[in-house]
Amino acid sequence: MDDHLWISKIIGKKHMEKRTLDKNKGTIYLALILSLIIFFYLYNPTKIFYPPCPFCYLTGFYCPGCGTSRAIYQIVHGNFLYALNLNPLMILSLPFLFYLVMCNLNIKIGEKLIFKRRVFTKKFYVMLIAVIVLYWILRNIPIYPFSILAP
């Protein structure tokens, strides 16, 4: 590809070298997922000595990640509904994260990429941050419709 040399001049050689690490990416994701599954299959975070969320510990408010470890414990043990109760946004983000990881891995069938790296619009990012910040605020309101979001 002629394109190739031209780009390495623009973006810099350093970055082109980074791309050779692509094969390791799959291993990193797989290791992360497997270690999470094995750890939470063996240990219940509410029963063993497990550090709480620093944000919750210091301020007393829930953060968007509160309840994630308990939710993973419940998923690994097959209780999807209970996991949804603990951290709904985390569970709902899993399919999207899976899609992003697939885009990252550059898996090819023959010569064609299954998922291509997508350049998201500004609107998408504004929405994403708005959803997370709203979720953060709403799950701290101890009134009925919002209290479902709390862990």
């Binding site: 590809m1 394109d3 190739h4 780009i7 623009i10 973006i11 810099g12 970055h15 082109m16 791309r19 000595f49 550090p51 709480p52 969320c53 620093p54 944000f55 919750c56 510990y57 953060c63 968007p64 990640g65 509160c66 994630t68 951290n87 946004l89 985390m90 983000s93 999207f96 994260l97 992003l100 990881v101 990252n104 550059n106 291509k116 790296r117 350049v119 998201f120 619009t121 500004k122 990012y125 504004v126 994403l128 941050i129 997370i132 910040v133």
Partner: protein, 79 residues
Amino acid sequence: MGYYEERVESHLVWAILVTLFCCLPFGIVAIVHAAQVDGKLSAGDYEGAQEYSDKAKNWCIASMVCGVIWMIIYGSVKL
């Protein structure tokens, strides 16, 4: 979709992971930087995109390191 656009990573996966799986507000900063990467890419500024890509990565790493430091501090105080 250009060939070079696939080359610049926005690190959005790790940004979301540290926000929803870790605990610190740094994840939001990482998402903002990931947004800058894609913004620069669609404007055709590949150098700028690369710069923000590195920044997003650094915020993700900072967040993870903070998580580990917290575990060590909490563990050593409570044990």
